[in-house]
């Protein structure tokens, strides 16, 4: 009888545990935020600094580089926000901050830290042909043609999005 009870208890606890496990995978417990989704960079094998260092210090690294760039005109690729975006833009949204699981937003919403970068900076890598130095000379023609054929182009149309 005792054995039977013990067996029953074991069965019950494993069942309960399994149920709890199933529950935790299907829906997160209340009061615990979902862990951020950290997608591996599309391009490149290794970040310009160690991952651990970047997780803790990326804001200082970016801050330092932004002053060098804006004030002194030093546009080296290492530590530049543009290069972060070029590597880390999501394959689905093409951006680092558009979707909720995109590289920057995912961690920042988990940590509840507001990012100001994308108030001004583009969240997408430089893709436009017009920006390429090879096409710089003819870049304005594309726009000229667009204005001639299309009478009204809204800001949303130009971006191809509506937030």
């Amino acid at each position: 009888m005792k054995r039977l009870l013990a067996l029953g208890a074991v069965v019950l606890t494993t069942a309960a545990l399994a149920w709890a496990g199933a529950e935790s995978t299907s829906a997160p417990k209340t009061g615990v935020a979902a862990k951020p989704v950290i997608t591996k960079a599309v391009k490149g094998e290794q970040c310009v600094e160690d991952t651990e260092y970047m997780r803790r210090n990326h804001m200082d690294v970016l801050d330092h580089h932004r002053d060098k760039t804006v004030i002194e005109g030093v546009r080296t690729k290492k530590h530049s926000l543009k290069e972060c975006i070029n590597c880390h833009a999501s394959e689905t949204t093409g951006s680092v901050a558009k979707g909720k699981d995109d590289f920057c937003v995912s961690c920042h919403s988990y940590a509840a830290v507001k990012i100001d970068c994308f108030e001004c900076h583009s969240t997408k890598p430089q893709a436009s042909m017009a920006m390429h130095p090879m096409n710089a000379e003819s870049a304005h023609y594309a726009h000229k043609m667009a204005t001639q054929t299309n009478d009204k182009v809204s800001a949303e149309d130009m971006a191809g999005i509506a937030q």
Binding site: G73, C120, T123, A130
Partner: protein, 257 residues
Amino acid sequence: MSEDKSIENTPSSPERRRFVGLAASAAGLSLAPGIMLMEVAHGRPEEQAASSAVRWGMLVDATKCGTGCNDCVSACSTENGWTPVAESQHKNQAPQWIRKLELQDPLTQFETNLPMMCQHCADAPCVDVCPTGASFKRADGIVLVNRHTCIGCRYCMMACPYKARSLVHEPLNDTQKADVPRGMGCVESCTLCVQKIDRGDGTTACVEACTASGHNALLFGDMNDPESEISKRLRELPTKQVRADLNLNLGVRYHGI
């Protein structure tokens, strides 16, 4: 000057020839005779800060500027990602980095065309009045707004005698170019295509467009280099600074106004 003349007049000795050759190779890092590793004026290495040895400037020849031609304006808007005024919803407050002016003399009916933009003053009033230091002059003479410190107070807009600056009033919804960050609540103006200069293009979008259109009314270059095309033209042509009475020492000079 007189010393230069006397040197020129003396027959060049082999010693002097050798010295000239040395000086030329030191100035331009020549790999082999005729092959230069980098250009002297604009091919600044990536990690080197902008230097005050250079002063970027522009010469506008108003006699060549085409009536009704808007190519410089549309090229600027394409390069820097601002919506052309005609296409924006609130035209009165739409940002505009460069605009075309058509002036007519009321007496003679003579018409003058010219582009007007930030004049990149050496003693810029916008820099003087900025309460946060966001409006600043870079070492190579380009007047810029550091958007990280701009609070959008628009004091610089009021101080500018050329109405060259605009405030971004509306959200841009990620329409910015990767090289040209812009944002709501910040003041902005012509940057002399600073992203292109730092890349080593040595020209601006408006100048490229003006040359492509065949008007050749715009010339960009280093005003500190006496051998640059712009310095040569400034020596030859009579030019004016707009509102020269303010003594601002402008980076943009006009011919034919």
